[in-house]
C-alpha cells in the first residue's frame, strides 16, 4: 500500500501563513473562463466549456 502523504508541522505553519496572507489580499476580480476545470469528460464534448 502506498504511503500516506503527510504535511509536516513546519509545512502546516507555512500553509497557515500563506492562507492568512491570501485572505488579506482577497480580491473580487472576475474569474476568467479558464478558471475552472472539471472531471466530466475527456473529449471536450460536454458543455462545461473547460476544453482547454
Amino acid at each position: 500500500m502506498k504511503e500516506k502523504f503527510e504535511i509536516s508541522a513546519d509545512s502546516m505553519a507555512k500553509l497557515s501563513e500563506i492562507q492568512s496572507r491570501l485572505a488579506k489580499s482577497e480580491s473580487k476580480e472576475m474569474l476568467s473562463s479558464q478558471a475552472s476545470a472539471c472531471t466530466c469528460c475527456w473529449g471536450g464534448w460536454c458543455a462545461n466549456g473547460c476544453t482547454g
Partner: protein, 378 residues
C-alpha cells in the same frame, strides 16, 4: 453554504457560458478502437436539412447575444466532410452576427489535403480535438495502428489553433501515462486524459500504479511553473469548501444532441449509437435528469460537488456495484494526487501558473480543499 464574496463572479461566469448543440453527423467510423462502446451496426449519417432544422431551432430558442458551441460528433465526423462544410456555411450565412464556435472530435486520420486547407481557412471558428493516446506504441495498441495516418505537423505547426488531445488510458498503457503526457505536452498539445470506462481495472494493482504515474507528473509540474497541469491534475478542488459552484454538465439545460434521424437526446452518450452494450443507460434515466450520485456514500463525500460530473457515466454505472467501487477507488487516487500537487505547489513552487492565475479567494479555497481531501480520502 454560507454567503461568500464569490457570489458575483460565479454569476458572471455562468452568464457567459455558451449553449452547446451537438450534431451527431455520422455513425460511420474508419477505425475500430478497442475501448469504443459505439454500436457498429448503426450506419446512419445526417441529412443537411436535418442539421439546418436543428440549428434553426437552437437559434430560435436561445438568446441572440448568448454564444453557441456546435459540436460535430461521429463516428468519425470528417467522413461527413461535405456536411461539416454545409453546417458551417449554413450557420455563418444565416446567422452572421451570432458568436459560434464549431468543434469536432476526430481521430485525425482523414485530416489531410483539402480538409486541412478548409480548416486553415476556418481556423478562427473551428476547433478540432484530436483523439491521440500517446506515443506510437501506446496509440496503435488500441487505435487500430492509426498513428502514422495523423499529420502531427499540421496540428502543432500549421493549424494555428492550440489543439487539445483526447486520450484514453487502459491498464496495459498505464505505466506510460506520465511519459506520454510529457511527450504530448512537448509537442504543444493540451491534454485531456481519461481512464477507460467500464473495463476490468484491478484496483489492488492499478491504483498504486496510477498513483506512481501521477507522482511523476507532480514532480514534472513542480519543475515547470509555466505549464498548466493536464486535466487529471487540474481538478476544481477549490469547489470542495463549498463557496464555488462547479460547472457541471447539465444536458437539456446547457446542451442537447441531435442524432442523424433528427431526434433530440440529452447528449451524444444517450443516443442509441453510443448507448449500447453492458454499460447502457437504463431507459428510465435516459433524459439524464435527476441522476444523482454514483452510490449512496457519495452524498457525504468531501468531493461530491465535483466528482463524477458526467451524468451519463453515472447513469450507466449505477446498479453495477463492482464497477462503481472501481470508479470510486480510482477517483480517490486522482483527488489525492490533485491535493498533493496543490499543497506542494504552495510550499515549493508558489509562482506556478496553476496558482497565480487565480484570484486570492480561489487560491484560499484550493488550499483548503486540498487539505480536506488529504484528511478525508487517504
Amino acid at each position: 453554504m454560507g454567503k461568500s464574496s464569490y457570489d458575483l463572479p460565479i454569476l458572471i461566469l455562468f452568464a457567459m457560458r455558451p449553449y452547446q448543440l451537438t450534431l451527431l453527423l455520422t455513425e460511420l467510423c474508419n477505425l475500430r478502437c478497442s475501448y469504443c462502446h459505439c454500436d457498429k451496426k448503426f450506419l446512419a449519417s445526417m441529412r443537411p436539412q436535418t442539421a439546418h432544422k436543428a440549428i434553426d431551432e437552437v437559434m430560435e430558442a436561445r438568446p441572440a447575444e448568448e454564444p453557441l458551441n456546435i459540436l460535430l460528433m461521429g463516428g468519425e465526423p470528417f467522413l461527413a466532410f461535405p456536411l461539416i462544410q454545409d453546417v458551417v456555411d449554413y450557420t455563418c450565412g444565416n446567422y452572421p452576427s451570432k458568436k459560434v464556435l464549431f468543434k469536432a472530435v476526430s481521430n485525425g486520420t482523414l485530416i489531410h489535403g483539402n480538409i486541412q486547407q478548409w480548416l486553415l481557412e476556418h481556423r478562427n471558428l473551428f476547433e478540432v480535438t484530436l483523439s491521440l493516446d500517446g506515443d506510437k506504441e501506446t496509440h496503435n495498441r488500441n487505435r487500430c495502428g492509426s498513428f502514422d495516418l495523423i499529420d502531427f505537423d499540421f496540428f502543432t505547426k500549421r493549424y494555428g489553433r492550440h489543439t487539445t488531445v483526447s486520450s484514453v488510458v487502459v491498464p496495459e498503457t498505464l505505466d506510460k501515462l506520465a511519459a506520454n503526457v510529457m511527450a504530448m505536452e512537448e509537442q504543444g498539445f493540451g491534454i485531456k486524459f481519461a481512464l477507460a470506462d467500464g473495463i476490468a481495472w484491478d484496483v489492488q494493482q492499478d491504483a498504486p500504479r496510477l498513483a506512481a504515474q501521477l507522482d511523476l507528473l507532480i514532480e514534472h509540474y513542480l519543475q515547470h511553473p509555466q505549464l498548466q497541469p493536464m486535466n487529471l491534475l487540474s481538478y476544481a478542488i477549490w469547489c470542495v469548501p463549498g463557496h464555488f459552484a462547479p460547472e457541471r454538465c447539465v444536458p437539456l439545460t446547457w446542451s442537447h444532441c441531435v442524432a442523424p434521424d433528427g431526434k433530440t437526446h440529452a447528449c451524444h452518450r444517450s443516443t442509441p449509437y453510443y448507448n449500447s452494450g453492458e454499460w447502457s443507460i437504463p431507459e428510465e434515466k435516459i433524459s439524464l435528469r435527476g441522476v444523482g450520485f454514483l452510490k449512496p456514500a457519495c452524498a457525504t463525500c468531501c468531493v461530491r460537488s465535483i466528482c463524477n460530473a458526467c451524468p451519463a457515466t453515472v447513469a450507466a454505472l449505477q446498479g453495477h456495484p463492482l464497477q462503481t467501487e472501481i470508479t470510486c477507488a480510482l477517483n480517490k487516487v486522482l483527488y489525492v494526487a490533485n491535493a498533493k500537487l496543490v499543497v506542494r505547489m504552495f510550499l515549493e513552487c508558489p509562482t506556478h501558473i496553476h496558482i497565480t492565475r487565480r484570484p486570492a479567494s480561489m487560491q484560499i479555497d484550493m488550499l483548503q480543499g486540498a487539505q480536506t481531501i488529504l484528511e478525508q480520502l487517504q
